[in-house]
């Protein structure tokens, strides 16, 4: 088992290195120059002497050869230093840190919502396959994949405004300081993102249970007289849950994608918004750090899932 963990752990390194290299060199191909974007933004498009631009480039280290820049950045990162935002000048870790709480909370709330919806709905859909219950749940979940979360957010705001003459508060308050204000602001984006999330999980739950129900041990359980409900609860559910947990984990890592657009609608100052701003401002260090953050998270979730599989299924360990 230890050898397996070690081996699997080492496998994460080339992937993350690949992400770092890809994002770094892709950004350097970008037509926008961060210095020009920043200075023109400050001076309102006035002419800026070449010397000033050059000095700024030297200050940000953009005058050095690409591979030197890359190694500097990478070496710093290995020591936990993500560098400074090219736009605000503050440290990347600080900029991300002040926004992480909000985004993470929305993500966690969306996950809870997804799990609460997906487990019962997916199971019902599988047990009553091809009945009207199944068809309704399937249409509901396929619709969840189709409705853009940002539009759903706009509709939610619109409904709240029309029927309650109320819109969610615009400023963020921490959950600890004022739980009520916090929840009344963040529940709506969580709902908008969570619908899609629950749809993905519901579909996975359904197909996973359907697959398990065809296994031999289910037939054995039925044959020895275990009643239907118990077969599903004891035998099918447990085995069907693993792939669902995987999907939930991976989708959680990818929630940032949903947040990118949803935070825009709800005027939330979170990670997704930071990413869109960083791209618009050609803020290289910020984009690199954010992309890498998401990838690390994704790769880690994958790693943990593999460990869980290996722990629960000895066949994987000894392969």
């Amino acid at each position: 088992m230890l050898r397996f963990i070690f081996h699997r752990f080492l496998l994460m390194i080339p992937t993350l290195l690949g992400v770092a290299i890809l994002v770094f060199f892709m950004l350097r191909l970008m037509p926008g120059d961060p210095v020009a974007t920043m200075l023109l933004g400050d001076a309102g498009g006035a002419n800026i002497p070449k010397a000033v631009i050059e000095a700024e480039r030297v200050r940000l280290g953009l005058d050095q050869p690409l591979y030197v820049q890359f190694f500097k950045w990478f070496w710093g990162m290995l020591q936990g230093d993500f560098g400074f935002s090219m736009w605000t000048g503050r440290s990347v870790a600080y900029e991300i840190g002040i926004r992480l709480e909000l985004s993470l909370q929305v993500a966690v709330m969306a996950t809870i919502l997804a799990v609460l919806l997906a487990l019962p709905l997916g199971t019902l859909s599988a047990i009553f396959k091809d009945s009207w219950i199944d068809q309704t749940i399937r249409v509901f979940s396929i619709a969840g994949l189709a409705v853009p979360s940002f539009w759903l957010g706009m509709i939610v705001i619109l409904l709240l405004l029309t029927y309650f003459s109320w819109i969610p508060p615009l400023t963020f308050t921490s959950l600890i300081d004022d739980p009520w204000a916090n929840l009344s602001q963040l529940i709506w984006p969580a709902l908008a993102v969570g619908y899609r999330y629950s749809a993905v999980s519901t579909r996975m739950m359904r197909s996973s249970i359907l697959e398990v129900l065809q296994e031999d041990y289910i037939r054995t359980a039925r044959a020895k007289g275990v009643i239907g409900r118990l077969v599903v609860a004891r035998h099918a559910m447990r085995n069907a849950l693993l792939p669902v947990v995987t999907v939930i984990g991976l989708e959680f890592a990818f929630l940032i994608g949903g947040l990118v657009v949803t935070e825009q609608v709800f005027n939330l100052n979170g990670i997704g918004r930071l990413f869109v701003q960083a791209v618009a401002r050609s803020d290289f260090t910020m984009i690199q750090a954010l992309v890498l953050l998401v990838s690390v998270f994704f790769v880690l979730v994958n790693f943990v899932m593999d460990m869980m599989y290996a722990f629960l299924d000895p066949r994987i360990r000894y392969r």
Partner: protein
């Protein structure tokens, strides 16, 4: 005459056309197909279907409610929302189909090659795909858009299409590779090799026809993804640019500022996006159940 034939009262069951079979066995999929066809007709014949010019600005009739003249109202420039949605179907379908075709074809080619050649080639390709896979779709698309900028040919932004199809690569590649791996172990592949056929012939004559089912299913599913991605990118101001009518674009800019006063500006384009994506998902889902239920998307 053929007395023997008339003597037997046995009737050969009528073989029905596969399309008819699909319609009857997969009613939900058939419904999706109908919506897709309606969308395609609207897109193809937009100048005849649309009541107004989608670009015609009318400052006298800004933000007017849905009425007999403007069925779905007008936007903040006085442009007819219904006409813009109909023309928007062009953008959505064109980008959806082209991006999905590019992404799925490239992904399938890489997948088949990776499975067939195996060994080091497979290892390197898998490594690269893992890297691409660890980017969220929209994040990867935004980064690609930022890197490539705009490059418009015939009113379609080529770089936007590339940005939407790149995230499909690893996802398609995985599914196709898995199918191709199973085929590679078949005895008839060994037989073809023993007969001395070239790699090209084995790949195109023996493997490719067997991965067509997953390819078609993915192609349909990813049209939906592409339409959604285009809408999201346009909404963020990184996709289609004004004044080209696009569903995502109709939800951003002025619409985002005025939608509380003029909800029709966002309600109908959003329904158009959802319905379009919904139809393709429904059709793709049924196609999977029909062709190969074991494929996971």
């Amino acid at each position: 005459m053929s007395t023997a034939a008339t003597a037997i009262p046995y009737k050969v069951p009528k073989r029905r056309h596969p399309a008819v079979l699909f319609m009857t066995q997969q009613p939900l999929g058939a419904a999706g197909l109908v919506v897709i066809l309606v969308m395609a007709v609207c897109a193809a014949f937009a100048p005849w279907v649309a009541p107004y010019d989608p670009l015609a600005v009318d400052y006298g009739g800004m933000l007017s409610r849905p009425s007999p003249e403007h069925w779905l109202g007008t936007d903040s420039f006085g442009r007819d929302v219904a006409s813009r949605i109909i023309y928007g179907a062009r953008t959505a379908l064109a980008i959806g189909f082209i991006a999905s075709f590019l992404g799925c074809t490239a992904g399938a080619v890489i997948g088949v090659a990776s499975a067939y050649f195996g060994g080091k080639t497979d290892l390197i390709i898998q490594g690269l795909m893992d890297v691409l896979l660890s980017f969220p779709i929209i994040v990867l698309a935004i980064t690609v858009v930022a890197v490539l900028g705009n490059y418009v040919v015939l009113g379609i932004d080529v770089n936007l299409i590339i940005a939407i199809s790149v995230p499909m690569l690893p996802r398609v590649e995985r599914v196709v590779r898995a199918s191709a791996l199973a085929i590679r172990e078949m005895p008839y592949i060994d037989a073809a090799r023993a007969a001395g056929y070239s790699h090209t012939r084995i790949i195109f004559r023996h493997i490719v026809p067997n991965v067509v089912a997953p390819y078609l299913i993915l192609l349909t599913a990813f049209v939906a993804q592409a339409i959604l991605a285009e809408a999201s990118l346009s909404f963020l101001g990184l996709g289609v640019t004004e004044p080209t009518p696009s569903w995502g674009l109709m939800l951003s800019g002025a619409a985002a500022d005025f939608y509380q006063q003029a909800p029709w500006m966002i309600v109908f384009p959003g329904i158009a996006i959802s319905l379009g994506v919904f139809a393709f998902n429904l059709y793709g889902d049924s196609l999977r159940d029909w062709l190969d239920p074991k494929i996971k998307l």
